[in-house]
C-alpha cells in the first residue's frame, strides 16, 4: 500500500472513530489503537504514540466547549492533575520497559472494562462518605448551573479519588488513551461530584494528562509524523462532527453497539498478545 492510500484509509477510519467516540462518550482513541495494530499490523508503540497525540487534540477541543457551559471545576481538575500527570509520566516510562504484547493484553483488559462501564454510565456508588475537610480547605466545593439555578455540591473522599486518578494517569501513559472513563468514575462515584461536573472536569484533565506522557514518547521516537498525521486530523474532525449532534435515544442504542465492538476488540487484543503476535 502506498503512503497516500494508507493515509487516506487511516484518516477515514480515524474520522469514524472520533465521530462514534464523541457521539457515544466512549472516546475515539480506544478503537484507533486496535484498528491500527490488528487491521494494519502497525507496531503498537507507533499506534500508542499516534493515539496519545489525538487524545490531546480532542480533549482540548471538547474542553473549550465544556468550559463555556460552566460545569468544569478548574480547582478540582488542577489538583487531581498532580496525580494524573505523575502517573502518566510513570506509565510512559513503564511502556518503554515492558514487551509490546504485555501492553496489548493490558489494553485489551482496559477496553473490556471501559465497554462495561462507559463514561456515560451513571451508577449510584456507596453513599455515606462525609464531605472532605481537605477539599473544603482547598476551596473545591462549588456550584453548577441547572435550569432551576445554581446547585451547590461538596467533594467527598478526596484521597481515594486522588489515588484512582494516579491509576488513570498510569493507564493513559501506558496505553495512549485518555482514560476518561476511569477519571469520571473517580469523580462521580468516589468523590461524589455531580455527573456533569465529573465529565466536564475529566475532559478538561485529559489533555494535560496526555502531555505528561507525550513528551516521553516523542523523545523515544514513538511519535511518527506520517502515521500520527491522518490519525490526529481524522479523530479531530470526527469528534467535532460527533459533538455537534444532539444525544438522543438513538445514540443510546449506538452506544451499546459501540460498546460491544470495543469489547470484541479488547478480546482480540488479549488473544493477539497472549499468542505472541505483537
Amino acid at each position: 500500500m502506498t503512503i497516500l492510500e494508507f493515509s487516506a484509509v487511516v484518516a477515514a477510519a480515524s474520522l469514524a472513530a472520533g465521530f462514534l467516540g464523541a457521539l457515544t462518550g466512549l472516546g475515539g482513541g480506544v478503537v484507533i489503537i486496535p484498528f491500527l495494530t490488528l487491521v494494519f499490523g502497525v507496531d503498537i508503540r507507533y499506534a500508542v504514540g499516534a493515539s496519545l497525540v489525538s487524545v490531546i487534540a480532542t480533549s482540548s477541543g471538547a474542553a473549550a466547549a465544556y468550559l463555556k457551559e460552566g460545569f468544569s471545576n478548574i480547582r478540582i481538575g488542577m489538583f487531581l492533575e498532580i496525580a494524573t500527570t505523575l502517573g502518566a509520566l510513570g506509565g510512559a516510562f513503564i511502556a518503554g520497559l515492558v514487551e509490546p504484547r504485555i501492553i496489548a493484553v493490558v489494553f485489551g483488559i482496559a477496553l473490556i472494562s471501559s465497554a462495561l462501564t462507559g463514561r456515560n454510565a451513571h451508577l449510584a456508588g456507596p453513599a455515606g462518605a462525609l464531605p472532605d475537610p481537605l477539599a473544603a480547605r482547598l476551596k473545591m466545593n462549588s456550584s453548577y448551573p441547572t435550569e432551576q439555578g445554581p446547585v451547590d455540591y461538596v467533594v467527598r473522599s478526596l484521597p481515594s479519588g486522588f489515588g484512582l486518578m494516579s491509576v488513570a494517569g498510569i493507564l493513559s501513559g501506558l496505553l495512549g488513551i485518555g482514560s476518561g472513563a476511569l477519571k469520571v468514575i473517580a469523580m462521580d462515584r468516589i468523590m461524589r461530584l455531580p455527573f456533569k461536573v465529573s465529565t466536564a472536569t475529566s475532559n478538561f484533565m485529559i489533555g494535560v494528562t496526555a502531555v505528561g506522557s507525550a513528551g516521553v514518547y516523542l523523545h523515544r521516537g514513538y511519535i511518527d509524523p506520517g502515521l500520527t498525521m491522518p490519525v490526529v486530523l481524522g479523530v479531530l474532525a470526527g469528534s467535532l462532527l460527533g459533538s455537534r449532534i444532539l444525544k438522543s435515544s438513538e445514540t443510546q442504542r449506538l452506544r451499546i453497539l459501540f460498546a460491544v465492538v470495543i469489547a470484541a476488540l479488547g478480546v482480540e487484543m488479549i488473544v493477539h498478545g497472549l499468542t505472541n503476535r505483537f
Binding site: M1, T2, I3, L4, E5, F6, S7, F40, G41, V42, D43, R45, Y46, V53, I56, A57, S59, S60, G61, A64, A65, L67, K68, G70, I74, R75, M78, F79, E81, I82, T85, A88, L89, A92, P100, L138, K139, G207, V208, A210, V211, G212, A214, G215, V216, L218, H219, R220, G221, Y222, I223, D224, P225, G226, L227, T228, M229, V232, L233, L236
Partner: protein, 135 residues
Amino acid sequence: MGSPTGSEHRRRFAWSDLDMDRIIGTLLRAGVTAAAAVVFVGTVIYLARHGGETAAYHVFRGEPPEYRGIRGILGEMGRIRGRGFILAGLLVLMATPVARVAFSVIAFLRQRDYVYVLVTLFVLGILLFSLLRSG
C-alpha cells in the same frame, strides 16, 4: 463614600472563575486550530513528495534523532520538510495544554490563591520535564 477598600480593589483586578473559563476556552481553541493548520501544511508537502512510496509501519525502528526533540523538529521545519512541519504542528498541540496550565498560574496569582499557584506550578513542572527533559 470612601476610597475603595483593599478587598474591593482586589476583586476588581482579579479574574473571576468565569473569566478564567472563557480565556482558557479561547486559548484551547486557538491552539488546536493553529496546530491543525501547521499539520495540514506538512501533510500537503509530505504526501506530494512521499505519497507514492510504500507504507511500512509494521516494523518498529523508532524515529531518527532529528525528530525526537524540539530543536531538531524546528530545524527540519526550516528545511521545509513535510514531516518537520507535521511534528511542529503536533508540538503546538502538545504545547496547548501546557499554555493552559501556565495561564492558570497567572490567574491564581491574580486571585492571590497561593496554594493553587503552587499546585499549578507543580503540574507545569511535570509537563515541562516530560517535553524538555525526559529524553
